[in-house]
């Protein structure tokens, strides 16, 4: 079903439906929200009666619950089959959450409401209330991070799970439900559902919530933003983004085999692991050099790509359809003039790892996207030359051998509208509370200001 159907539903019909549902539901009031019945929602986990009463950000209740969930997951031998669940469990450790809380509180004008007396002008933060999450269809555990971020901001959540029934999603929800039994306050703030994309459910829930987190790219964001919502409802949207990598050629050329191997593994995790389909997976690699030593640059490139290929050949499950897709892509790039063979040579198609040297950069780099091990590279002698290319679409810059502070300065001083994340190789996909340029805890909470 296409995303458009969500938006094309008769709006009147939707509104009637909502009124009926809300009127018939005595339990819906300012303090709670009862999940509407008989509209095609399948509840997979959590509670169907949700508290609207907000918590403080990084509440003890949330941290204690997540710490217990983390311990439960990390103790479970079955969890080890799911690398993404393990990563999630590590993220939820109490110690990690407490350090996040401390970092966050350090940035707040005050820590406690009581201290208002001291200066007379103080702020407190509190969750927004009820959050609707539209989780992405193809990244299994992303739904859980989305839910946890909203919880840490002090909110209740209705999470629409990916429609494909991933084994780790089912498994994790079962564990979550068990831990929720000991945490009533968190249970009444968590609800995991599935429903058809062509139903009215997104429209009904959109009107009921105080914030929406919409994953799933441009089409989903466009479809959901057409739905009516409360005037104060805040949308945190994750449209399609574009990411790049930047390597210092000399640093790569001088790397030991062991360092190259780690670099390659990091790059593999940034790209192949999600078939290069994640927003933060780089498609384009810039080799930075100020040297005229062509053999050094050649050595750096060869060393890097050999290491990536060696790692990918051992770990990547190459599928025939992906190979054909890459070959089609290469033919299109050649016809469109993006990719050319070096003088007096021909290219050979590499089914596992296709690397295209761009002699000239097209005006819009974001058209150059790879899939399942299809990359572009280009040599630059001045990082500032990148500035004109960076649009709002740019999300992550993955770096190696380059000063990260200088890169941050490059973005800020040039007033660029893109690049939200500057991370080392291997961390492109590491989702965190600051994502896509948003601090999600701040986005999903509000300020109570006193003077």
């Amino acid at each position: 079903m296409s995303a458009d159907n969500v938006a094309n539903n008769d709006v009147n019909n939707v509104e009637n439906n909502i009124e009926n549902n809300i009127e018939n539901n005595v339990e819906n009031n300012l303090m709670s929200f009862k999940l509407p019945q008989d509209i095609g929602i399948k509840v997979i986990g959590g509670s169907t009666l949700l508290a609207r009463k907000a918590l403080l950000p990084y509440s003890d209740e949330a941290i204690n619950f997540l710490n217990e969930l983390s311990a439960t997951l990390l103790r479970d031998i079955d969890a080890r089959q799911f690398a993404d669940v393990i990563a999630f469990a590590y993220w939820c450790r109490g110690a990690h959450l407490k350090s996040l809380r401390d970092e966050w509180q350090a940035t707040q004008p005050t820590q406690q409401m009581q201290s208002a007396k001291a200066t007379g002008q103080m702020q407190a933060r509190i969750g927004r209330g009820l959050v609707l999450h539209i989780a992405p269809g193809n990244v299994p555990i992303n739904f859980a991070f989305s839910w946890v971020f909203a919880l840490l901001a002090g909110n209740s959540s209705i999470v629409r799970l990916p429609s494909r029934e991933f084994a780790q999603v089912t498994w994790l929800l079962d564990k979550i439900d068990k831990v929720l039994l000991n945490h009533a306050k968190i249970k009444e703030r968590s609800c995991f559902v599935r429903y058809a994309t062509d139903s009215n459910v997104s429209a009904i829930l959109s009107l009921a919530c105080n914030a929406r987190i919409i994953w799933g790219g441009d089409r989903t964001v466009a479809a959901l933003s057409l739905l009516p919502k409360q005037p104060r409802c805040v949308d945190v949207v994750f449209p399609d983004r574009y990411s790049i990598a930047l390597l210092d050629a000399t640093a790569v050329a001088n790397s030991t085999d062991e360092q190259l191997k780690r670099l390659a593994q990091g790059f593999y995790n940034d790209t192949y692991l999600m078939d290069q389909n994640a927003c933060s997976s780089p498609h384009m690699l810039f080799w930075y050099t100020t040297s005229d030593d062509a053999s050094m640059l050649a050595k750096a490139k060869a060393g890097f790509w050999q290491a990536v290929k060696a790692y990918a050949s051992q770990h990547y499950n190459l599928q025939a359809q992906v190979v054909v897709d890459k070959y089609v892509h290469l033919c299109e790039d050649i016809i469109d003039g993006h990719v050319k063979a070096p003088k007096n040579e021909t290219l050979s198609f590499d089914a596992l790892m296709q690397v295209n040297e761009l002699v000239v950069l097209p005006n819009s780099l974001t058209e150059l996207r790879g899939l399942g091990g299809y990359f572009y590279q280009h040599e630059i002698r001045d990082i500032a030359k990148l500035a004109p290319f960076i649009t709002e679409s740019y999300q992550t810059l993955v770096y190696y051998g380059i000063d990260k502070l200088a890169l941050q300065q490059f973005v800020v001083e040039n007033g660029l509208s893109g690049i939200d994340r500057i991370v080392p190789f291997g961390q492109a996909l590491d989702i965190d509370i600051v994502w896509d340029g948003y601090d999600l805890v701040s986005m999903l909470s509000r300020i109570v200001d006193i003077r």
């Binding site: 269809g137 078939d275 994640a278 033919c331 050649i334 990719v339 290219l347």
Partner: protein
């Protein structure tokens, strides 16, 4: 004017179909592909770029005809644009034909089909609706197939009405008129199954046709219903009495040079075409010319047709999986390669954070 003039197609059409052994065929192909390649390189910019980047004789993925306008003739020489029967919402392939290529395709089809049905024109019953070809401005693959075959027969009669309902009376009258002769039937595999065979069975009608049925278009929908080529043949025979049933493999991107199924159930390569099997994980051709090693490797089918000069579609990489079964030694007596098709390459499951809503 163009390199196409250097190609003497009369020479090619003079060859008795299925008469060349593979060694002689390889020599013929090499000579023709060189000339065809030069022609397209000279007359089609996108093709020239591909040759420059990838080397001589690149296989064009069939999907390229959806995303790019690929012509080796000036726009004003296009007399027909054929489109693939893509499902709604998907991009369609566009194949540009000039007079010469179009005529050559018809001639090739006649030559290949008559090798199975005989030289004389048979009365033709088309298992489809005439509505499909009424709109001559749009040549869908289905319309093109029907039109192509309709030139091969006489007293062309359509078995289905405009609403795809079986016109039993027309069929019976047709059979009556030609009760003394063999007839030819043509249609698309799935249409025949759904609108002809099922309609006859629902009405408990049993026909007694002396004729030959030729059908193509793919097995995907029938595979979904667990209908194999063997059970198709058996049920068609039980319902209509037809004993001679030939499937064919072909595509709108290479109309005319179709691959016909022989009496032994093998698809045959004619003198106008070739197939090779490509390793789906490397896209390298299983290039061993040893007869024995050609057989027994499943992979993607790479199709060669010597017919197209108006568009660079003489070597295509399909997304169909097939296998060469043998060379020159089919019990039916036809020379050359014979093969089997196992359907479409299965779609990949890819990961990523885009697309909350399912695609495809």
């Amino acid at each position: 004017m163009t390199g196409a003039n250097l190609l003497d197609y009369n020479e090619l059409f003079c060859i008795e179909p299925y008469s060349l052994e593979v060694s002689a065929k390889e020599a013929l192909l090499a000579q023709w592909l060189k000339k065809l390649g030069e022609h397209h390189e000279k007359n089609c910019g996108p093709y020239a770029r591909l040759v420059k980047a990838l080397g001589a004789d690149p296989a064009l993925p069939v999907r390229l005809f959806k995303s790019h306008e690929l012509r080796s003739i000036p726009k004003e020489d296009v007399v027909k644009t054929m489109t693939s029967s893509g499902t709604t919402g998907q991009a369609v392939s566009r194949i540009y034909l000039d007079k010469a290529t179009s005529a050559r395709q018809s001639k090739a089809l006649a030559q290949i089909v008559s090798a199975f049905t005989g030289k004389s024109r048979l009365p033709l019953l088309v298992i489809d609706s005439s509505a499909v070809i009424k709109n001559r401005a749009m040549f869908s693959a289905r319309g093109a197939g029907i039109l192509g075959f309709s030139f091969l027969g006489r007293d062309v009669t359509y078995a289905l009405d405009d609403d795809m309902q079986l016109n039993l009376q027309a069929v019976k009258e047709f059979c009556e008129r030609h009760s003394d002769n063999a007839i030819m039937l043509f249609g698309f595999t799935y249409m025949i199954w759904l609108y002809f065979i099922q309609a006859l069975r629902e009405r408990n009608e049993q026909l007694n046709i002396n004729g030959v049925l030729i059908h193509g278009g793919g097995w995907k929908k029938l595979q979904d219903q667990q209908v194999s080529n063997d059970s198709f043949k058996q049920i068609v025979h039980e319902t209509t009495g037809i004993t001679r049933i030939h499937n064919y493999y072909g595509m709108v991107e290479q109309t005319g040079s179709i691959y016909m199924e022989c009496e032994c159930g093998h698809l045959h390569v004619s003198e106008l075409s070739d197939i090779q099997i490509v390793n789906p994980l490397t896209l390298e051709i299983n290039n061993n010319v040893e007869k024995s090693s050609l057989a027994g490797n499943r992979g993607l089918i790479r199709c060669t047709s010597l017919l197209p000069t108006s568009y660079p579609g003489h070597i295509l990489l399909t997304e169909d999986v097939g296998e060469i079964l043998g060379v020159d030694d089919c019990p039916c007596g036809r020379k050359g390669k014979y093969f089997a098709v196992y359907g479409r390459l299965e779609g990949a499951e890819v990961r990523g954070c885009s697309d909350t809503h399912e695609r495809r």
